[in-house]
Symmetry: C2
């Protein structure tokens, strides 16, 4: 029986696993992931801004796949591939495979400044979302206690670096939280005076959209109290301030939504990578010279017909996972592989709780209608019935009451003896 | 205007604050808490066993009190009391008060073994509940990967120390999880073979109940796969095993639900404490010699008419908070204080998702009816409409589908660069 190993339980890996699970062929599948959960990353910014709980957007991988008896799920880290012997090297030993699917996603890049990470957390994992939430909410708590007005102003200044969809969504959600949700909860500060600055190195935010939609998004952000600074690359950062060219802003909270890079694994493989560290794949998504090893999702760099890399979006990942699984099944049955084709349906970004922009190629929509579309699409695709239902309910209630449901600050440590006298 | 400072936003502190908020008197109130949230502790074991999310049982204190304009909420640690100048000493400076209400609760006690804490986390905070959840779920993940049968057995052995309500609830919930929820999710292990041992130093569990109800609870636990070892005090512990007298059990997960002690604060005050470190209070809940300083909830030791200390239960804390606030208001209006009286209504403990025991003095109930009562009481008293509604829905769905909604393992650290190559 052929053994397929899938690394990563994101959109691509999960879709591939389900194709194998539903196929009647005799294939044994092992899914390996660093975490125990599939994460619905498009809504991660909602966890970071206290709109949703961690478990609203994540489901244990093994519970999603539990009905497929030919699939095992193991929690562990992939550390390399032994192409000669067809072994995946992991932290719990070597795993032999006939076919390997890599779908590990990407991580944040701080370019030449890895030391910025502790000052400016990124947003790729649930742990990071929790850390961002802790920092945002703690800044308000500290400001409420602060008598010194200039220190208070620093605590009430939030900088978001990167004007892509994640940065825009984060900035919009913080704007909304300060302008609406927190309004009446404080006595010594006025959350409505919070300064929120979105820094973008390029000439405009949301560069994958048209100039007019990008400018619409900028105006929408402004209406939520977010100031957009374009052509503003960060030059330096320390605990308490950020420098953009000759300008220096005092801030207690910097969030990072700029630039991604591939995982360490990619660099160890000795295979062709693009400048972001993604693995450049063949038309059938396999790695050149290693026809039984495939790459899918954000980890892969696939050039479309116009020689442009496909964007790092969940629909791309899902289609790639499906294509790879079908090709492997075809090959096992003695048929030939089909090259991967992708038809791009559209791109969306949301700004706060009633505005969005969407580009479907042939037509574009903005405002409330685009937001309702965004809401529908995202609730529809959330994995697992429980979550979909709860997220919808939570959003309805949040919309009506203007309260954030998950505004809980958790400490880093769980031990009592750590905080005696602190 | 008189200034009342309340330390602790638990059941007692919150009730006192609400009484002041609703009174038409001219009183300024400051609530100080180490965390930003009120925690519904009776359901904490559900967070630890992945039945509920953290935000289901916690609400920001400032959002509960936001409508009371005379109340401010500050996040900070109380470190001492300057009785001479009527100052509360905190980590953000001194706070002057006319009246002080201490309601800080208690922490776990490891008796003479504080080093046991890292090996056996207790269950008093959301952070601890998350840590316990991480340990329980990770043990199953590790066991699934383990080829060595004796190591696997060690990973699938859970020891709960302490046969009070928390220990019984934890053990029952783990029993249920292993016997029902996790059943089909693993390939290399059978979660139904998990060994769960509840250790109690005394002659029986749930000693506040009658011998017959205690024995009923023991049988209920057994039906969920939990073995109850009475007269079994822990003599030593290391990473990987626990020793009870001459017997030694190999285990990867020990949970602590035995014994509490007062916070460090109490020892600094120089006031009369009982042997658990609780502050012995006067009939009006004030501290002897300091009539403007009151203690409520688990932090207080109040002797009832039969000279027995009141139990550390939320109804006691709520009534005490109310009594103190009313006495302070009376005194401000020139009236005299009334001594505190408490009428005990009953005690409940739940074992899994369809059994409980309840003792209402005049009558006792067991089984499903007691469990439904328990469910009703707990949902009814959860603070905040949102949460009550969601918790009820989550439980309904969990009951029908037998799935745990929050089975997410989060890492201790949020940084990417920590786990390169680990």
């Amino acid at each position: 029986m052929k053994h397929v190993v899938i690394v990563g339980g994101g959109f691509a890996g999960l879709k591939a696993a389900k194709v194998f699970g539903n196929a009647k062929s005799d294939v044994k599948v092992t899914v390996i992931d660093k975490t125990n959960h599939h994460l619905f990353q498009p809504l991660l910014y909602q966890v970071a801004t206290a709109g949703l709980s961690q478990s609203d957007i994540s489901v244990p991988i093994r519970s999603i796949l539990s009905s497929f008896k030919n699939i095992s799920v193991l929690k562990g880290n992939a550390q390399g591939v032994d192409f000669t012997n067809n072994h995946l090297i992991t932290d719990f030993g070597n795993v032999a495979f006939d076919y390997l699917i890599l779908s590990c996603g990407v991580r944040h890049s701080y370019y030449d400044h890895p030391e910025w990470e502790t000052m400016a957390p990124g947003l790729k994992t649930l742990e990071q979302a929790s850390e961002i939430r802790r920092r945002i909410l703690s800044a308000f708590e500290e400001a409420e206690k602060e008598a010194d007005k200039s220190k208070q102003k620093k605590l009430l200044t939030f900088i978001i670096v990167g004007g892509g969809p994640t940065g825009v969504e984060l900035a919009g959600a913080i704007g909304e939280m300060t302008r609406y949700t927190l309004g009446r909860d404080f006595r010594n500060i006025d959350p409505k005076l919070t300064r929120i600055i979105l820094l973008e190195a390029g000439p405009r935010i949301l560069s994958m959209f048209s100039a007019s939609q990008s400018s619409r998004a900028t105006r929408d952000l402004e209406s939520l109290g977010v100031q957009v600074w374009t052509s503003s690359p960060v030059t330096s950062m320390d605990n308490g301030s950020i420098t953009v060219g000759n300008e220096r802003i005092e801030t207690a909270t910097v969030l990072w939504a700029a630039g991604v890079t591939a995982t360490e694994l990619n660099r160890k493989l000795g295979v062709p990578l693009n400048d972001q560290g993604r693995i450049i794949v063949e038309p059938d998504l396999s790695i050149k010279g290693h026809p039984n090893v495939f790459v899918a999702g954000d980890q892969a760099c696939f050039f479309d017909k116009s020689n442009v890399p496909l964007p790092p979006l969940s629909p791309v990942a899902i289609k790639q996972g499906e294509s790879i699984a079908k090709n492997i099944l075809a090959e096992i049955n003695g048929e030939s592989r089909k090259p991967f084709h992708y038809k791009h349906l559209g791109t969306m970004a949301t700004i706060g709780r009633s505005r969005a922009i969407a580009d479907f190629g042939l037509f574009r929509v903005n405002g409330l209608f685009a937001w309702l579309l965004w809401l529908f699409v995202h609730i529809y695709f959330i994995a697992g019935f429980n979550n979909r239902f709860f997220v919808f309910l939570k959003w309805c209630i949040a919309y009506v009451t203007n309260k954030k449901g998950a505004r809980i600050i958790l400490k880093d440590s769980w031990r009592f003896y750590d905080d005696i006298d602190d």
